[in-house]
Amino acid sequence: MRGRSSMKTLLITAGLLAAMSVGGASAARAQSIDWTNLMRALGNALHSWRISPFPNRTPTAVQATRMPAAGTSTRAPTVTRTLPPTRTETATRVPTRTPPATRTATATRTATNTRPATFTATPRPTSTPIPTAGSEGQIAFDTAEGVPPQQKLASAFLVFPYIDTTAPVDTRIELMNMSNEQISLQCFYVRQSDCVEIGFFVSLTANQPLSWSAFEGTSNPLTGTSVPPLDTFGAIGELKCAVDASRPDLSAHNVLQGRALVFDKNTGETVGYGAIGFQRLSPGSYTHIVELDGFTYESCPDRLHFQVLSNQTGGPSSTLIAVPCAEDLLTQRPTESVVQLAIVNEFEQVFSSSFRFSCFTAQSFSKFGTLKKSVLGTDTAHLVVRGVSSPLIGLVIDRFTGQGGTLHTTANEPFLEGGRSATVIFP
């Protein structure tokens, strides 16, 4: 018995050793095994059981989705699983890829004409999601969708919503290159009176600051900068500046910041504010069409929130300034929009108001009964502003009386909520 059992033990040991040596040899030959094929085979086997642990199998799923395009029944899971037909399809796709030659030709054509078409087409439908009042009709209480532009950062596109040169007021415009490279800007004033644009180019050396009086303009033959006056007789309007980047990289686009000081030469009343900045989000060259769509550039804010002082009877009146985000300066079609206002007082009571404007608007608070302290009931109000057919950019000029009845004026820049697409087309 003992002999038999020892024989059995010997046999088992020999078997184990043989197995180990084979394993070792195969391990040594591991390099020569085609693992890709092995995994694919295993994957196919598992896939036929609908268990596919290999993420590489995803392409098959894509091919399966293409099947319906070919007109084959979508449902038939057998079709999806059977590899040969799928592969045959891939084979059929090859010829489609063959005409790259033709495609190159098309590409050349695109460069000439197709581009503008694509640009005009994409933005407009996106900006269409127009009015949609919020839940319960209150624009103040709905959640705005989209992402607003991040402020106070180096930007690729700037909007100065308020430039005033009507005597005795003047505006000092300040621009600053935040990069270590020379940059070029394309800028446009847009006058309130007739919505006419006045364009010019600015060149800034590395880190250069530049400022000029909007009434006088400036000229520097060394840098090639020449800024005309906003209007010979003085006018009110806005200024838009876009970085004409020398390279497609984002770092060549997002380089600019600016502010403006609007001051009354007689009274010293001053409104100093930072321009609203939009960052470029995807690399590419400057095309004179600024797509504020959340992909190429940051989108326009959907709603502007201001904290304002209510208008006291007999006291100075604050002013709301708004300009449309979307602007077609190429065809000189002024953007018209209705502006919806929601006003929330300190007791959470809500009032609303609206008005229509074209191109630029400056509305005195005294025009809105709902912003009077006697109606509002509190010193402070939360003002929510939303453009209906185009998103807006705006500013409030706060005016109030201080110690001894002195008049105080200051800029009140908005907090931004949500994002909506808009397109600015430069000539």
Partner: protein, 313 residues
């Protein structure tokens, strides 16, 4: 196991660990070394300049806060006077979308909100105390302030906002580290008008407060601030100044590089960077529009981010 094999394993592990560390660091820097985006509903807001002189009869500040959410918000706020460098705190309760404002010299009392009067120069910090841990419950407020004097000068500015980035409860350590909250700005860029010391003088001011602040242990933060000025001809000047807790000084008193005669142009590009701690700053623009002086708040453009911590009691 043989010592050679062990050695190789250790080396390999170290190499992999190093690679992982480098990749993680690179990713962290790329993702989070960003300046805090402004004008969005925030979780922490800082007003770098609150001024009350003569109990408000000479200079006063109107502090404004607005709830930008549809939920009630509790705020813990703390005034930090420059002369003591220690804070005194209060709580503000805002109903959905509610705006609130008060004169710093008088404070306010309204239901659950009681703001004590302030009678100094300093800063104000407000932190959202959310009732739940979601980011949406943190990022809800914004604020601004208007400093105005009997001489008619007005400095209006928006508070600097920091967003909460991860869900979680509020602790007394506010980590402005790019993970819990957005970071403090590394560099601050201003366009300023050159000072003219001739009669009558036009002198703009610089206000600086360190980002890092330990108001629990009253450990005062001192930092050197490096100043770089570039004129319109791309010529560069530099200066530096030490800041403990708070600084408000005329540009001309800091250095002559801010004067028109030295700078050589009307406008300058000012870059500020705190060395030991990042800082928050603003410029008060002052210039003459004969016969009246003109004043305006000048907020910086922000670049880069650096970590800082605020400890509240």
């Amino acid at each position: 196991m043989q010592p050679d094999f062990l050695l190789r394993m250790v080396r390999r592990t170290t190499l992999i660990a190093r690679l992982v560390a480098i990749l993680t660091l690179g990713w962290c820097q790329g993702a989070f070394a960003d300046a805090p985006p402004q004008r969005l509903p925030s979780a922490v807001i800082i007003y770098p300049l609150i001024v009350v002189e003569g109990n408000g009869a000479v200079t006063d500040t109107r502090v404004e806060l607005v709830n930008l959410s549809n939920r009630a918000v509790n705020l813990g706020c703390i005034y930090v006077p420059a002369d003591f460098c220690s804070g005194f705190d209060f709580h503000v309760v805002l109903t959905p979308n509610q705006p609130i404002s008060w004169l710093a010299s008088r404070g306010t009392f309204n239901g659950f909100t009681a703001v004590p009067p302030f009678s100094s120069t300093g800063e104000l910090k407000c932190i959202v105390e959310p009732d739940e841990e979601s980011i949406a419950a943190h990022n809800t407020v914004q604020g601004r302030a208007a400093v105005f004097g009997i001489d008619g000068q007005t400095i209006g500015y928006s508070a600097v906002g920091f967003l909460r980035l991860t869900d979680g409860p509020l602790t007394n350590e506010i980590d402005l580290d790019g993970v819990t909250y957005t970071q403090c700005p590394d560099e601050q860029h201003f366009i300023f008008l050159a000072s003219d010391p001739t009669s009558p003088p036009t002198e703009s001011e610089l206000v600086i407060a360190p980002c890092t602040e330990d108001l629990e242990n009253l450990n005062t933060t001192t930092t050197v601030v490096q100043i770089k000025v570039i004129n319109e001809f791309e010529e560069q000047f530099s200066a530096s100044i030490s800041v403990t807790c708070f600084l408000r000084r005329n540009l001309d008193d800091i250095s002559h590089i801010f004067t028109r005669s030295v700078l050589g142009s009307d406008t300058g590009h000012l870059v500020l960077r705190g060395v030991q701690s990042p800082v928050l700053a603003m410029v008060v623009d002052r210039f003459l529009t004969p016969p009246a002086p003109a004043t305006a708040g000048n907020e910086p453009a922000l670049r880069g981010g650096r970590s800082a911590q605020i400890r509240i009691p």
